[in-house]
Structure formats: C-alpha cells, structure tokens
C-alpha cells in the first residue's frame, strides 16, 4: 500500500495542470474539461487522506464531489450551448465585454 505523500503530489500536479488549462485555453468546452481535470486531482487527494486517516470519510466526500461535478457539467454545457447559439463561436474572448 503506497503512502499518502506521493498520492498528494500526484493530485497536486493534476490540479495545477487543470488550472493552467482553465487559464490559457480560449475554447469554452476545453476550459470546462480542464476543471474536470482539477476535480480528478481533488478526488485523488481526498481518497489519499481517507487512506491516511484509516477511515472512509474521504471516500464518502469523493462521492459528493462526483455529484457536484455532474451538476457543474450539466449546467455548464447547457450554458455553453446558449452562448454558442447566440454568437456561433466557442471563443471565450467574444464575451470579454462582460468584464464590465
């Protein structure tokens, strides 16, 4: 059974890669795919801590994380379709006027 340290390092790397993708990509769909990569890093982390503490609370928390991920994906993709219908492009810079 591997220790918790290496799992936390792998989770941190996945999280940071997802964050980089969310910041750099301009395609709305790929931006939200990057947030899913960040979710994967978090799931690895909470399960590692569950193992480390010898209980199941982290695994139960991972299940609720999956619920949040599903909710986020459904609503985000619905909104992306609305935005695409309006502008006919997935470029997020088209909506830069919403910065105010």
């Amino acid at each position: 059974m591997p220790g918790a340290t290496e799992y936390i390092i792998v989770g941190a790397i996945l999280f940071a890669l997802g964050a980089v993708g969310f910041l750099t990509r301009r395609n709305l769909i790929v931006m939200f795919l990057s947030t899913e990569v960040m979710f994967q890093g978090v799931v690895v982390n909470v399960v590692a801590f569950a193992r480390f503490h010898h209980n199941l609370q982290g695994q139960a928390f991972a299940l609720f994380l999956l619920v949040i991920a599903a909710v986020e994906a459904g609503l985000a993709l619905g909104m992306i379709m609305l935005l695409f219908k309006r502008k006919r492009t997935l470029d997020v810079d088209v909506w830069s006027m919403m910065r105010g």
Partner: protein, 256 residues
C-alpha cells in the same frame, strides 16, 4: 527523505512548466519537440524522486508509477491539445488512470463510480456538445493560447507550494485518530466481512443521510435548470452569415 527533496521537486516542476509552456498552441513556429523533451525529462525525474526518496517500498508501487505517469501525461495533453475532441479522449485516459490509482488505494467503489459517472456520463455529454458546437476546421481560438506564460507560472506555484510542503514535512497522524469510531476499511482486521462498497453504503445512508438528500435535491434542481436553459430561445448575433446552423456540421464537413 531528506532536506533536498523539496528543491529537487521544485526543479522538476519547473521543467514540467517549461514543457507545458512549449506545448501550448501558439502563433508562429512551434517548439513541440522542446516541450516533449522537457516533459519526458520531468516525468522521468519525478518517478526517480518518488522511487528513491518518497514512495513506501511496497510491491504495488510499480502500478502506482505506471498509472500516475499515464494520468499526468494525459492531463498535460488535455490542456495542450489544439483539438477539443482529442482533449476529451485524453481526459478519458486521465479518468481511467485515476480510477486505477483509487483501486490501488483501496477505494474500489469510488473508482467504479468515477469511471461510470465521468467516462460514461459526463464525457458523453461533453462529446455531444463538441460535435454539436465545433466549427469546421481548426478555429483560431484553438490555435492560440491566452497568456500561457503567466498561467504556467501560476500552475508551477500551486504545485510547488502543495507538493513541496508535503514533501518537506509529510503529514503525521494526530494522536487518537486511528481509534476513530468509524474506522471501517475493507481490509482492516476488525471487519473482514465488510466490503468497501458495503461500508461506504452504511456510512452514506446513516451518518451522511442529510447530505445525501441534499445532493439528490441538487441534482434535481440542476436537471430542471439544464432543461430550462436548453429550451430557451435566444436570438443569434452571429457576426457573419457563414456559420452553419446547429447540427448541420457533420453533414457537410467530416468531423475529424
């Protein structure tokens, strides 16, 4: 594990940041080869550091190396690939590798749930939207990354702070935690007949039953919201008339 480990990790993360920076889609001539070399070097170095300084010497660590390499490399391709459909495919690889890591860590039920929910449901929805909304060819916004340098520096800082700190002082159990009342593990000696799935089910249905009900209500609310959003009629403000109407793309242009 000694005092040098965090600094070795920092330099490896810097190499990985350089790799991601060079692999980003960009204008002008690309240096994909440089990025690939830096990426492979940082992954190999990370494995070497994990093996020699951090990982516990157990048999299953070779599987851990294999699946964590797959997960990290595929995640890097998700964020750097210029074609969204390939990003989605690499994300499936990330999900499967993460599920394998969870199985190694004794979380079988969460692993299966991750595969079913992510690879089975969420990814299919993403692929639907990509097919429906993807423009023909490779549009400009997929070939130019936005501020790749600043983002890569931010990612390097996040990883460095978390992983460097963890490697510097590995987490130590506070006293008394091991005697917690809900110490139910599939392989623990005091409950050998309880599987991981049964134990999680017991826990979620008793201790976290309120959270479970709230999660169900949240799913219902988001389903209603998604239906309301998708039925809404919006006027099109397309800049030119050249864009094809929704759902017509695959009929005229080969979608990859």
């Amino acid at each position: 594990m000694n005092d040098m480990t965090p600094y070795i990790l920092y330099s490896l993360f810097a190499a990985g940041a350089v790799a991601v920076y060079f692999r980003m889609p960009r204008a002008g001539e690309s240096k994909l080869g440089v990025g690939a070399i830096f990426g492979i070097a940082s992954l190999v170095g990370l494995l070497a550091v994990l093996h020699t300084r951090i990982a516990a010497p157990v048999d299953s660590r070779w599987y851990f190396y294999l699946f964590s390499t797959i997960a990290i490399a595929a995640a890097a391709r998700v964020v750097t690939h210029p074609r969204p459909i390939w990003s989605a495919m690499y994300f499936i690889l990330v999900v499967i590798a993460v599920a394998a890591l969870l199985v190694l860590f004794g979380a079988e039920f969460v692993a299966i749930a991750v595969v079913i929910i992510y690879a089975g449901a969420i990814l299919v929805t993403y692929l639907f939207v990509i097919m429906l909304a993807q423009q023909s060819g490779s549009p400009m916004y997929d070939r130019r990354a936005r501020e790749p340098f600043a983002a890569v520096v931010a990612g390097f800082l996040i990883t460095g702070v978390i992983a460097g700190k963890i490697a510097e002082s590995p987490p130590a159990l506070p006293s008394g935690v091991a005697q917690a009342s809900d110490m139910i593990l599939a392989d623990s000696a005091n409950a050998p007949e309880l599987g991981n799935t049964l134990a999680i089910g017991n826990m979620v249905m008793t201790r976290y039953v309120v959270a479970l009900e709230i999660a169900g209500a949240l799913l219902l609310i988001s389903m209603i919201g998604a239906i309301a959003l998708s039925r809404k009629n919006v006027p099109s403000e397309a800049f030119d008339g050249s864009a094809m109407p929704l759902g017509q793309l695959g009929k005229e242009v080969d979608p990859y």
